[in-house]
Symmetry: C2
Subunit: 504 residues, 2 copies
């Protein structure tokens, strides 16, 4: 390697490290705003976050970024350190998307999104869609305009998808969701019609917060989550956040009358956290130190939450611990009863409370709505009506009000159109990984029964975590499982599990 | 006001708000690093902080800063909003100091200071001054060079003092400290020779952390600290930190075998916090939203800690609460015994554990050393010897080792030469405020006995807090008390209190 390229590579790294310092600061401000901030501090925090984000936006779209990226990519492939070349390609993508948005428009959009999120909280509370409508209308306007700035082949929605699931298109999603829906619907119907009705009353036994915290910590440790490089805190809307691989924080929410909220929330966020803790140290503070996509990230959380955390084998090992922390609440509940209760399935109103069987139906209806909204086939004012129609169509129920309907999710209120499909992709990826993983670890169930989760984490690190953002989601899923995304794996998994649970 | 100046004022404010967003981010990163960060996260945090600080340094020294400041100051005085003009003057000062330091030198210095602080921890632990010596030598070198960059009239040390106590000079400090020392030393000697020996064993009764936290929270509330605009956390080295007036955080440290650590630490930091919470909202996120100086800031913490928190009247109201939280530990201890125990005085090795009587002696010896160090009269290698000589001279004791001697304080390890005098100034200011305050609130003691601390806070807000950094320390002390700094007030306060306590 010549001296010049060596020097340029170093300067390029320095530039990324500086941008990453902003990201770490903003990440910490977000974590703090959701866990520790005093009540009166939120407005000034939002203001500071908006300003610092704009500074970072300007740095990302600076001539300096363009210069480093173009210089590195102008060298022959074998003259540049391979991963640094990958980083340059990734940053070039980010640069090119950002630079097409005028700086003032970005600032206007950021401020609007931040404000709108706060309005959403109030609108949901007041069950008043009209409060949020003017904000949503502007945000949809922005999204439609951004899609034009970014460009697309067939559907403007493709341009938005690219932010969350690089390489994914509306056409591909239509195909995958259609296949999924076709086999899923009859299964959902059969489960609903089954005479098997698990006793779910045990789910609502009082369970003190302090004891739930102990359960959450124990299970995170068992999952190989490293507490020396992270921490567990309480929040209203759980999330995991990686500032860097040595500082990855999990948050959860405690409901003393429904232990599932914290338990499965923690396992879910723990899955995200394992991804972030096991990103390669060498690439830290660069654009490659990130998940491959929202969908791949979600595959990790859902794999742990459902495939592991809702399996019987997992609870064969962990049920005693949970029982002990719960005091006497589960004394009369057998493992089998417990297992059936936590896997009860059926149509419900709220996405984040949905079971794994019906969850993707909630996503499909959101996807259908977003697509039409961005296309201009429907308008914001139509949302409550269309939401309720789709709920009837996909889940056979109609929300009693908008707060349990169209207002239930935060995503649209901060302008995240194109995000929802990632959740369903995550389900499908998770099931597809599961199939591949069992080929490599045939005694998967035995491992769970022994509480030995390390080999599972290691498989995910080998096939997913270690690549960070250096591979596309398509490459990761193909190399790990031997084929492209295929909804049949999820369907097979659900069929097997739920036919047995509901004696179908 | 013309349209042009109006527009310039707005742009200038925007510029300050942006700089302040960096400061808030850096402040939060510091708070987090001292309270919440996972163990493995510290190195990457230091790296990010270094980078973001350098970004802020570049913004502070940018042509943009110069342009706004110069444009505003070029207008006639009555054409500009008065407080914005003040802000421009303050920022001009900061700009001119910063711009004289070459950017690479600043970055080198910041990185060295951050590393050195970590080395200090190890050196203190290992009682090994030689570990820290090379770092200190470089930091002293930087400070001497910075003093030359900044310029001074008589003493290079004056240039450093300006950072902590604007307007203060070596000449003035020499005079004030000489007067203080002359009257203080005989009093200290008399107290040491007194046959009165308070029973201090009660200070070391076991006091559970959780109960101490309750005491700290109660007293903060009573002091009018607003928990909706702040929080209380645990840390190794207590501090208070104001991100903005709506988010001011207090930290404390719990010793279950010496409740004074948390109790007086909390009251002390609470005094700082009241200053930050009561800075004017209108000026928030500008350079005027800050304490007038380190000395004035310290006057607030010391006033609350000592004048209020170590007074008998304060405990006449609060002793029952403390007793209740302490379980049965204080059942046999009368209020008078308690009061005498928490005011026990006499020479000691460690500054932060010193009583209010001997505290300023610790400062004077540090001041003498710093002055000579920056002058070049002594060198870093001489520090352990000179430290021990001065301890003998000022306090009549010699440290058994360097970790209880020259290595005890963190300040020098991050290059803060010129900081220590602020602590002694704070003592003198506090006593001087006390004298003026009693003229306005003659029933001060009755207020304390009633637990009514609001009028005291209000007096401080009226005379100190509300001015932020818009007045110099000299202006504040003169307007509040009618004269310049005068050590006699502290001496009178100490004479009165300790003659009575020790029956002199």
């Amino acid at each position: 390697m010549s001296h010049t390229i060596n020097k340029i590579e170093q300067q390029f790294l320095e530039h990324m490290y500086t941008m990453n310092a902003y990201e770490q600061a903003l990440g910490l401000m977000e974590w703090d705003a959701r866990t520790k901030i005093p009540e009166k501090g939120t407005d000034d925090r939002a203001e500071a976050v908006g300003r610092l984000s704009t500074e970072l936006f300007q740095l990302t779209t600076s001539d300096k970024t363009a210069y480093y990226v173009d210089t590195i990519l102008a060298y022959k492939e074998d003259e540049v350190t391979p991963w640094i070349r990958k980083a340059a390609e990734e940053l070039k993508k980010q640069y090119e998307r950002s630079v097409r948005i005028p700086s003032e428009e970005y600032q206007e959009y950021s401020t609007l999104a931040a404000k709108s999120e706060a309005v959403w909280e109030q609108a949901k509370e007041a069950d008043d869609f009209e409060m949020l409508r003017p904000y949503l209308e502007k945000l949809v306007e922005f999204s439609r305009r951004f899609a034009e700035y970014w460009g697309y082949d067939k559907h403007p929605y493709d341009a938005l998808l690219e932010d969350y699931e690089p390489g994914m298109t509306t056409e591909m999603l239509d195909d995958v969701f259609n296949r999924l829906h076709k086999r899923l619907q009859p299964l959902v119907d059969e489960v609903a019609a089954s005479s098997v009705k698990p006793d779910t009353s045990i789910l609502f036994e009082p369970f003190p917060k302090q004891k739930q915290t102990a359960v959450s910590s124990n299970i995170l440790r068992r999952m190989t989550y490293d507490f020396a490089a992270g921490r567990l805190d309480e929040t209203a809307h759980p999330f995991a956040l990686g500032l860097n691989p040595s500082d990855v924080r999990v948050t959860t929410n405690y409901d003393e009358n429904d232990f599932r909220t914290a338990l499965f929330g923690t396992i879910h966020e723990g899955g995200h956290a394992l991804y972030e803790q096991n990103l390669p140290q060498e690439w830290k503070a660069t654009v490659l130190s990130d998940g491959a996509s929202m969908g791949i990230h979600e595959s990790q959380s859902l794999f742990w939450e459902n495939v592991v955390g809702r399996s019987k084998a997992f609870w064969e090992y962990h049920y005693d611990m949970l029982r002990e922390e719960a005091g006497s609440a589960f004394d009369d509940v057998t493992l089998d009863e417990f297992y059936r209760a936590i896997n009860t399935a059926g149509p419900s109103l709220i996405r984040i409370e949905a079971d794994e069987l019906t969850y993707t139906l909630h996503i499909m209806l959101r996807y259908e709505i977003e697509k039409q909204l961005i296309n201009g086939d429907i308008e914001v004012k139509d949302l409550p009506r269309i939401w309720n129609e789709k709920m009837q169509e996909y889940l056979g129920i109609t929300p009693p009000d908008d707060s349990k309907g169209v207002l239930q999710d935060v995503h649209w209120s901060f302008g995240a159109f194109g995000y929802f499909p990632s959740y369903a992709l995550g389900y499908m990826y998770a099931a597809q990984f599961y199939d591949a993983l069992r080929r490599d670890i045939p005694d998967f169930d035995t491992k769970l029964q022994e509480g030995n989760l390390e080999p599972i984490k290691q498989w995910m690190t080998n096939h997913v975590h270690q690549y960070g953002k250096s591979k596309t989601p398509v490459e990761i899923i193909k190399e790990a499982t031997g084929e492209s995304i295929n909804p049949d794996y999820l369907l097979d998994y659900l069929e097997t599990k739920y036919r047995k649970l509901y004696s179908l």
